[in-house]
């Protein structure tokens, strides 16, 4: 069986496969486990002995935690393919797959590999060594809906010109949209192990512990780990494009339970008895009324990413379970 790794694979298994290829040119192996695929991919085998890795389905189970950066993702909706309306025309829905090929959302035509692929000396390659020669065929149904002489932006789009196909070079296989750097950044962000902070607070949430009105309350992240306060880094690759991402905690917003919030730009400082009545240097609060308060903390992460000549920032928030503290007034306590 043949075994090799596509050029864009990114983990150690790719290196292993490359080594195998270098040693044997093609390494037979049909049994499961003959190759190890990177996360998000699985082994696939063809009837002529080729074994390689292919991407897993991207569908997410409804009750799965999507992770940071993917809050809005859910089960994949059925794909809808359209020619966007223009000049007041409505969108025109087309079949996503026809004998003319697979619909390309970016090129608005059906793409199909020229079969066989022309030799690299053909001018269609435009000097490229990689990529594919693809036929781009406009939707015949859409063309049929147009009247001869119809125009968009002053260009005639109806009639015979509409259905004319064009062969040309492109980087990706038909049906494979170019890698989206922002999507890769979301994948990288989602891959980070991020946990909400464990709340540290004085007065503590323990029987007999009572804070005082007008005295400082200290808040902090208890025993913070990198998963709770960062910083963390990750990268994600697809089709030769790699996006790197640096994530950190931007702020922790404390809901003090009395209708007010306190924003802290750091993990806070754990209270020690030696501090006495001092205020926290970086994350504190003063209650003005006695009572029992449910205090919660929300950690806001930001992640800066770069790749594919683009850059951007993603955000995510993580809520910690609330804790209850008691605040009393001094005269009440001394009676």
């Amino acid at each position: 069986m043949l075994s090799a790794a596509p050029a864009q694979r990114r983990t150690a298994s790719a290196a292993v496969l490359a080594l195998l290829v270098a040693m044997a040119v093609m390494v037979p192996g049909l049994s499961a486990g003959a190759i190890t695929c990177p996360e998000g991919q699985h082994p696939v085998v063809s009837g002529n002995g080729i074994e390689t890795c292919a991407k897993d389905s991207t569908q997410t189970e409804p009750d799965q935690d999507p992770g940071p950066g993917n809050e809005s993702s859910g089960p994949s909706a059925p794909r809808e393919c359209v020619v966007p309306g223009a000049d007041g025309r409505p969108d025109f829905v087309v079949d996503c797959h026809t004998p003319d090929g697979d619909w390309s959302d970016s090129r608005l035509c059906y793409e199909k590999l020229v079969d066989p692929q022309p030799p690299k000396s053909d001018p269609l390659w435009e000097g490229h060594d990689e990529g594919y020669i693809v036929t781009c065929q406009p939707s015949r149904a859409w063309c049929d809906s147009l009247m001869s002489g119809d125009q968009v932006d002053g260009l005639e789009i109806g009639g015979r010109a509409c259905v004319q196909s064009v062969d040309g070079w492109q980087e990706n296989l038909p049906g494979v949209e170019p890698a989206d750097p922002e999507e890769l950044a979301r994948e990288a962000f989602a891959s980070l192990p991020i946990d909400p902070i464990d709340i540290g607070i004085v007065p503590e949430d323990e029987p007999g512990r009572v804070g005082l009105v007008g005295m400082p309350t200290w808040m902090w992240a208890e025993g913070p780990s990198a998963a709770q306060v960062g910083p963390q880094s990750a990268s994600s690759s697809d089709q030769g494009l790699t996006v790197t991402l640096d994530a950190r905690v931007d702020r922790v917003v404390w809901d003090m339970g009395d209708g007010n919030t306190e924003t802290c730009y750091g993990p806070g400082t754990p209270y020690e008895d030696s501090y006495g009545k001092k205020e926290s240097p970086d994350c504190g609060y003063v209650y003005t009324r006695q009572g029992e308060y449910q205090v919660s903390a929300t950690t806001y992460w930001v992640a800066d990413w770069t790749g594919g000549g683009q850059s951007g920032q993603l955000t995510a928030e993580f809520a910690s379970p609330a804790t209850t503290i008691t605040v009393g007034e001094l005269q009440v306590l001394t009676q």
């Binding site: 037979p28 049994s31 009837g47 002995g49 996503c96």
Partner: protein, 193 residues
């Protein structure tokens, strides 16, 4: 592209739905896998739903056989026929995985002789939530004992293991009314058949 079926395809059609991907040496009679599976119940006549399932499974079964032959042809033709597989059979995810490997093999002049055969096949999943977009998964026994791989100079590339029969799961998804099927999964399984 040749569409001639191999003996393995005939065996596929005759395979009995028994243990998962058991290699069938038996003469199972002149009934297709789909018919056998659909008639497994005691019901003397099939409901409309069962008839539709039988029709879909038969269609998928035929497509799987064509796909298997197309793969064999591509290997025998020096792996240059990958555009046909990408245009007509593979899902985009499978194409992404396979095409670079086929391209590399073709560029090096490598080729196959002989053929692998789908010895037996069992329908292990059927999803028909949306008409025209049915999914059928087959767990098959792939016999590669007569498949040989060669370098450009004709020298044979030795196989790293002695397993000549393997279990493979193929999943086929129909692409909508008026369209064909696509193979979205072609996954080797642990164990042999």
């Amino acid at each position: 592209m040749r569409r001639t079926r191999t003996a393995g395809v005939a065996l596929l059609a005759l395979a009995v739905a028994g243990s998962a991907a058991a290699c069938a040496d038996d003469d199972a009679g002149a009934a297709t896998l789909a018919r056998l599976q659909a008639s497994a119940s005691a019901s003397p006549s099939l409901s409309d739903e069962e008839q539709e399932k039988q029709r879909v499974v038969e269609e998928a079964e035929e497509f799987l056989a064509e796909f298997q032959q197309a793969e064999v042809d591509a290997g025998n033709d020096g792996f240059t026929g990958w555009p046909t597989l990408a245009n007509e059979y593979w899902s985009s995810a499978l194409a992404e995985g396979f095409v670079p490997v086929y391209q590399e093999a073709a560029a090096k002049g490598q080729y196959t002789t002989g053929a692998s055969e789908l010895e037996s096949s069992e329908v292990t999943d059927y999803v028909a939530e949306e008409p025209g977009h049915e999914q059928v998964a087959f767990t098959s026994c792939l016999d590669t004992s007569s498949l040989h791989l060669h370098q450009k100079d004709g020298s044979e590339i030795p196989l790293p293991n002695e397993r000549e029969r393997s279990v493979v799961v193929h999943r086929l998804v129909h692409q909508g009314e008026g369209n064909s099927w696509r193979v979205t999964e072609s996954t080797p399984q642990d164990g042999s058949c």
